[in-house]
């Protein structure tokens, strides 16, 4: 099992979600987050006072995947979340030891 975390542009979220549903992804956790990587923020001016807003709104997707789906999902996200501009986000993958469904205590990939 792998955990996938993807930080993407809010404007791409709906397309990514639809594409993931098409390749058979049934569950995900979504959070509205703020942050930045190499992309610098923008400037706002209030009565002459300039504020650099460097933490920009992003969407974070989290899902735990059976090994055989990982490549498909990564490809799908790469394809649909890309705008080609700086600030498109990142994907992180990490190994997951165990998954347990709370309702019936199923374990492993069948709990996903």
């Amino acid at each position: 099992m792998m955990k996938l975390e993807a930080i993407i542009q809010p404007s791409r979220f709906e397309s990514v979600k639809d594409a993931l549903r098409e390749v058979g992804i049934e569950g995900m956790t979504v959070t509205e987050v703020r942050g930045h990587g190499r992309q610098k923020g923008h400037t706002e001016v209030y009565r002459g006072r300039e504020y650099t807003v460097d933490l920009l709104p992003k969407i974070k997707l989290e899902m735990v995947l059976p090994d055989k789906l990982v490549n498909t999902v990564v490809d799908t996200i790469l394809k649909t979340a890309k705008t080609g501009k700086i600030g498109d986000g990142k994907i992180f993958l990490s190994r997951v030891e165990e998954a347990i469904r709370i309702r019936n205590e199923e374990r492993g990939e069948s709990a996903l």
Partner: protein
């Protein structure tokens, strides 16, 4: 006493008019048959009755407008100013700044009723009134001929009260986000007595030092409160901001307005309420009120344009905050001028004020580095000063022959020395507000303290001063 009798007569004549005609007819018919002497007496009675009815009709019209105006001016403080300032602060201080305005609506009203009105408009001293109207003694439905001969004195009293309410509330823009509530209440109470009431008397009160029409030494033109309201509050705001120091984190930490949508609504309410403030200052539903109404609207519009244009040139964008700030600056500047200038000069005054106040809050403030959090000085102090001086330039006897029929009023009439009078008034108001405020600040600091602790400031005034939050997003 005489006026009370007169007023009773007016009321009775109104009642008589409401009674069905047959009741009157026999009474009128009887003396008609009793000879020429009686007939001329009847004529005189009739004339007297008619003139009473005319006066009653004028009073009804004027009173309707003045009561409406009083309500409009109250609306400027709440919700107008409360929303305007409320949107400009950070989320954690929203209720506190709104409460500071609302508290003035309640507390200043009480002070005004007890002695404030009397000290401002009773008597005829040069500096301050007297206690002849304390507890509103003698203030009833009869007019006070010194100030407004066609409306009940009660109307005049409550209209002037609304000005006394909004003026201290304006100061809270400079002290926003760091002033104790207890300190606010004590400071505003003292400020009302030490700065507002004497200044209102000096400019508007009979015999006041700066009064233009009722025997002042330095006749200063201030139609609706450029010196009394805006210079006094703006300059006091600057003194408060300097005395208090900057907010924790200013200017490094960003402190953007938490809801410009609230500020936008507030500014629009201020604009509408200002018609009561300025056009109401004619104290009658007259041609002068119409003139002031138009000047007010034109001043606001031109200033919104001026500020926006300056900002557009400088930043490449015309912001909503800029447009509404400009409108308020224009309203401030046109306040002393509204009842003295024609529509075209009103556009000029607005345009100048819009650009000048933009430079004040963006350049001058940054240059000196004081933290006038919501620009109470930059808009009210600066706008009020510009407006007061330009009033002297553009005032015309054609609009308002305040010095007597046909006598020149301002620069356009060739009476340039009025600019000098005006400067005396402005400098006096600056000095008076500064001196009074410094003394009051010291006293307040000794008794309740003025500023919250650093922890409280970081946590926010809503929780620490009032025990509640403006936005409880979990519920």
């Amino acid at each position: 006493m005489k006026r009370a009798v007169l007023c009773c007569c007016l009321l009775m004549s109104l009642l008589v008019m409401a009674v069905p005609l047959p009741a009157q007819a026999p009474a009128a018919a009887a003396p008609a048959s009793a000879g020429a002497a009686d007939s001329s007496k009847e004529m005189n009675d009739k004339l007297a009755q008619l003139s009473q009815q005319v006066a009653a009709a004028q009073s009804a019209g004027d009173n309707a407008w003045m009561l409406t105006s009083a309500a409009l001016v109250l609306m400027m403080t709440g919700p107008g100013l409360a929303l305007f300032y409320g949107g400009l602060v950070r989320r954690k201080n929203t209720l506190a700044i709104m409460m500071q305005s609302f508290a003035m609506m309640g507390w200043i009203t009480v002070l005004w009723a007890l002695v404030g009105y009397s000290l401002a408009f009773g008597g005829n001293g040069p500096i301050i009134g007297d206690l002849s109207h304390a507890f509103l003694r003698g203030v009833g439905t009869a007019p006070n001929a010194d100030y407004a001969g066609t409306i009940p004195q009660l109307t005049f009293m409550v209209y002037q009260l609304m000005f006394a309410v909004i003026t201290p509330a304006l100061i809270t823009g400079a002290t926003a986000e760091r002033m104790k509530f207890s300190g606010t209440m004590l400071f505003m109470t003292l400020w009302f007595f030490v700065v507002y009431v004497p200044l209102a008397h000096m400019v508007w009160g009979k015999g006041g030092l700066l009064n233009a029409s009722l025997g002042g030494k330095f006749p200063c033109l201030d139609f609706a409160g450029g010196t009394v309201v805006h210079i006094s509050s703006g300059v006091s705001a600057l003194v408060c901001a300097l005395y208090m120091g900057k907010r924790v984190g200013f200017p490094k930490q960003p402190m953007p307005p938490h809801s410009l949508a609230l500020s936008f609504i507030g500014a629009c309410l201020l604009w509408v309420g200002w018609f009561g403030f300025n056009a109401g200052s004619a104290l009658a539903a007259s041609g002068l009120a119409a003139s002031a109404f138009v000047a007010t609207h034109f001043g606001a519009a031109a200033a919104a344009f001026g500020w926006s244009a300056a900002e557009w040139l400088k930043n490449g964008k015309a912001s909503a905050l800029g447009a509404i700030s400009g409108a308020v600056a224009g309203l401030v500047a046109i306040t002393p001028a509204a009842g003295f200038v024609r529509p075209m000069p009103a556009l000029v005054i607005g345009l100048v004020a819009g650009v000048a106040c933009y430079l004040m809050v963006t350049k001058v403030k940054a240059l000196f580095g004081y933290d006038d959090a919501l620009d109470a000085f930059g808009v009210h102090g600066a706008g009020g000063t510009i407006g007061a001086i330009l009033t002297a330039v553009f005032a015309q006897t054609l609009v308002n022959p305040i010095f007597g029929d046909g006598k020149p009023v301002g620069g356009l009439d060739g009476h340039w020395s009025q600019v000098g009078n005006q400067l005396v008034g402005v400098l006096f108001a600056w000095g008076f507000a500064m001196a009074g405020t410094i003394v009051i600040l010291k006293i307040t600091d000794l008794i309740t303290g003025f500023r919250v602790s650093e922890e409280q400031e970081v946590e926010g005034l809503d929780i620490t001063q009032h025990g509640e939050e403006a936005y409880y997003l979990e519920s």
